[in-house]
Each structure stands twice: as structure tokens, then as C-alpha cells.
Amino acid sequence: MNRNATVWLWRAASFAVAASFIALWQLVANLKLVSAVFLPSPDRAWASLVRGFSNGDLWSKLAGTLEHMAYGWLAASIAGIAIGAIIGSSRIMRTYVAPSLEFLRPLPVSAIIPVAIAMLGLTQAMALFVIAFGAIWPIMLATIHGFAAVEPRLYEVARSLQMSRLAVIFKVALPSASPDILAGMRLSLTVALILSVVCEILAGLDGLGHWVLLSARAFRSADLFAGVILLGVTGYVTSVAMSMAEHRLLAWQASQR
């Protein structure tokens, strides 16, 4: 009861904040504090959004970005979980491989982009590689941690049941590591979105990043803002969807707290 009320209060408060932010934006635009070339009013940005969707331009751009993001993120997830599982389930690997990961991890992904472009050109393959490379880290490190933290007693249960190696991975280790893995995948989602935009801008690939770049170059500030707003919404919606999936998959955890 009380908790519900608190939740609603929070929602109302964040709605109020968003509304006042838009009102302030409208005010600044109306007073012409910033030139309309750089800052469109919210109603113009909205009109551009509606126009973009009704003539289909924005739909195709959105679909492009979602596609880059999804492929890169899925590739990162599969590779990250697989590599993380191998490293995390072996103490020797953890001792010898983990330190080099710690060296690679803080390497900014932007440093890898020129390398990727030199090797793969300005192509979809380059984008996939860069997005996956950036998004793999949170997933892989979370998986290593999750696999290393499996309760040893459960492995003994598995041994006394003479479970196969594959069964131990799928029935014991993966489910045990799943809270860590899903948290890593949620972090990677944001990384994948950012890198999708970066790659679209750099390689001129069809997507919201490219749309934003072209709008900025042509001083179409309303279109630019429409694209930025859409990117924000995309980030928000995907991460909410991920949270909901996590909530469902980890329902068993709720009873532990």
C-alpha cells in the first residue's frame, strides 16, 4: 500500500521534472535566447518527429540503428558469455588471463576504431566489430565474476550426481551466474547504442547517427533534435525492456531478499 503510493509519488515527481524541463526549453526558444538555427522550440522538434515518422524517414533510420545495436550486442553477449565462462570456470585461466583483460579493458573503444576501419573499411562489418568489441567487456567481466562465484558445494552436488560437464554448465554454473551476466548485458546495451551512433557517423551507415550528422550539417536543428530525442527514447526503452526481462528471469531472487 504505502510502497505503491511512494512509487506513484516518484513517477509524478519525475513527470513534473520532465514537464518543467520542456516548458523551460519552450521559454528559452520563445524568448530567442539562442538562435533557432541551433535550438528549435519543442513544438518544432515534435513536428519534425511526426513528419519524419509519417513519411517513413525516421522509421528506417531507427530500424538501422536498432539493427546495428542488436547485432553488435548479441554478438557481444554470445562471445562474452562463452569466453567469460571458459575463463571464469578455470582457476588457472583466471590467474593467467584475467590480468591481461584488466590491461585491455580500460582501453577506450575509440582507440580501436581506426584499427577496425583500416582492416575492414567503412563497412557494416566494421560497425559490427566495433560495437561488439565495446559491448563485450561488461558482459565478459560479469560472466567471469559470476562463474568464479558459483558455490563450490553445488559443484560437489553435481559431482555426486555424476552430471556431465555440459549439464553442470547449463544447470548449475550458468543459472548461478545469471544475475551477474544479465547485469553486464544491461550495461552493454547502452555501450552498444553509443557505438552504433558513432559508427553510423563515421562510416555513413544508415541510422539515427547518420541522420543527426546530416541534419546538423544542413542546420536543420528541428530534425537534429528529433533524432537526438529518438536516441534518448531508444536508450530508455531498451534498458527498461532489459530490466523487465531481468525481473522475470530472476524471479527466484526476489524470495532470497
Binding site: R153, S160, L161, Q162, V172, S176, W252, Q253, S255
Partner: protein
């Protein structure tokens, strides 16, 4: 005052022991934990192991489970050298909270053992229901371990072990963390289960009364390194009864003897 451990040997005409320790020594981290332990457990026997904390009871049980390999000597199961854990030997761990899969319901946890045994999925639900009923958890199939009390979790672990259809059941202070009432109830349930299944049991406990109440035989371990210090045959009638068995003169005599032994080891 205490006899040195006898070397275990197969006596012609006697049934072959189901589990046999022969001169087993185990070192861990350069320390001798178990030294020259010889012991035979007959099929269907209920053997209880007592001893002060840290004397090697859990370690001995893990050797019997095949979770440890002896540094020297050998452990045999049904006349075969034990090289690894096997499904015929089920182990009920002391820390039931860690031995259950928190992401699986009670039914799912029992199912794990059935899956490992290769039971077709269509046959599992009925068997799971039967096992949960056997350990007194009917109607809790859909609960997660975290939603269950300690006693219920331990029952669940026992159900999973029974699902292995073990020839030998190893139990490590299974009721140590439970309150007295739950404990006595579970003691009687384990006796009934074992009587019904005919399984051989090695039951570790630090509760001397519990050991005598349950066992056909009680051995007491001496610490540093772990070895057998006392061996008592328990000739109390079965089925046992919480009131009359515990008042039986033989019970009291054994209790006294065991108590003196433990006191001597603690000095």
C-alpha cells in the same frame, strides 16, 4: 585407555562390506587429517560417527563419498576401488542452504537428481510428488528454497538424495542446525526412510544421544590426526522410540561410555 584402530579385513563368510576403508591416510595442505583409518560398513548398516569438532568427521565422510582421494590406503565401494563420486552414494551436506539450487523450486531441486539419472521428463512429476510426500513436503513443490525453513530445506535435500536411489546415504550433521523438536521428528523420519529403502547409512553427528538412538554401531574419532578411538555396537530393539529407547538401560550405558570417551579426548 583407547585401543589403536584395528586394521579392517574381509572375514570369509561375512557379507562383503559396502564401503571399506583400508589403511586410509589423507593429507591436506601438508597436514595429516586422517591417519590409517580402517573401517567396513555392512550393507544395510546404520553407522554413526561422533567426535569432537575438527577431528575429521566431515573429511572421513567426503572420502566415503569419493569427493577426496586418500593419500595412501584405499576406499572401496561394493568391492570396487572408489575413484570418483557416484550416483549410488548420496550425500546430505551439513549446510543445506548452500547445497540446494536457489533458482529451482523444491520440485526442480528434486528433479535435478532425476535428470542426472536419465529419467524421462514425462515420468518425473509423479516421482517428484512421491518423494516430496515421503519427506513430508507435500504441497511445497512450487516453493523456492529461500521460502522454506531450515528444517524444510534439509528435508528437501534428503528428498533429492533419495531421488538418486542411493545404496549408501552419507549424512553430515544433517540436523545440527535445527531445533530439538524438528530434530527428533526428522530422526524418526530418517529411520523410517532407511528401513523402507534398505540403504546403508553413515551418519555424522556431534550429538551422542542422536548417534546411539539412530545407529547399529557408533564409532568415536580421535583428533589430530583423525582415527578411530572407540567402537560400540548398539543392541537396542527396533523400531526405536523417542521415549522408551532413550530410557532403555542399554541406551544409558552406551551414552555413559561414549560420554566418557569424548570427555577424555577433549583433555
Amino acid at each position: 585407555m583407547v585401543n589403536a584402530a584395528k586394521r579392517f579385513e574381509v572375514i570369509p563368510g561375512q557379507p562383503r562390506p559396502q564401503i571399506a576403508f583400508t589403511g586410509v591416510t589423507l593429507q591436506l595442505g601438508g597436514k595429516t587429517i586422517i591417519e590409517n583409518l580402517s573401517l567396513g560398513v555392512r550393507p544395510g548398516e546404520f553407522l554413526c560417527v561422533v567426535g569432537a569438532s575438527g577431528c575429521g568427521k566431515t573429511t572421513a565422510l567426503r572420502l566415503a563419498a569419493g569427493l577426496y582421494q586418500p593419500t595412501s590406503g584405499r576406499v572401496d565401494f561394493d568391492g570396487q576401488l572408489m575413484l570418483h563420486p557416484r550416483r549410488e552414494i548420496a550425500i546430505v551436506f551439513q549446510d543445506y542452504g548452500k547445497a540446494l539450487l536457489p533458482w529451482r523450486t523444491a520440485a526442480g531441486n528434486v528433479s535435478l537428481a532425476l535428470e542426472a539419472g536419465g529419467m524421462p521428463s514425462a515420468e518425473r512429476p509423479a516421482r517428484i510428488e512421491e518423494l516430496l510426500r515421503t519427506v513430508g513436503l507435500p504441497g511445497h513443490a512450487g516453493k523456492y528454497p529461500a521460502e522454506m525453513s531450515g528444517g524444510m530445506q534439509q528435508r528437501l535435500q534428503i528428498a533429492r538424495c533419495l531421488a538418486q536411489e542411493p545404496k549408501t546415504l552419507l549424512m553430515d550433521e544433517p540436523f545440527g542446525a535445527l531445533d530439538a523438536m524438528t530434530r527428533q521428528g526428522l530422526q524418526d523420519e530418517v529411520l523410517a526412510l532407511v528401513a523402507a529403502s534398505g540403504a546403508t547409512v553413515i551418519f555424522v553427528t556431534h550429538d551422542l544421544d542422536e548417534a546411539i538412538y539412530l545407529g547399529d554401531r557408533v564409532i568415536g574419532l580421535l583428533p589430530h590426526p583423525g582415527r578411530i578411538g572407540i567402537e560400540l555396537a548398539v543392541n537396542l530393539p527396533r523400531p526405536r522410540d523417542q521415549l522408551s529407547t532413550r530410557e532403555h538401560p542399554e541406551f544409558l550405558r552406551l551414552r555413559r561410555q561414549l560420554f566418557d570417551f569424548i570427555k577424555a579426548t577433549e583433555q
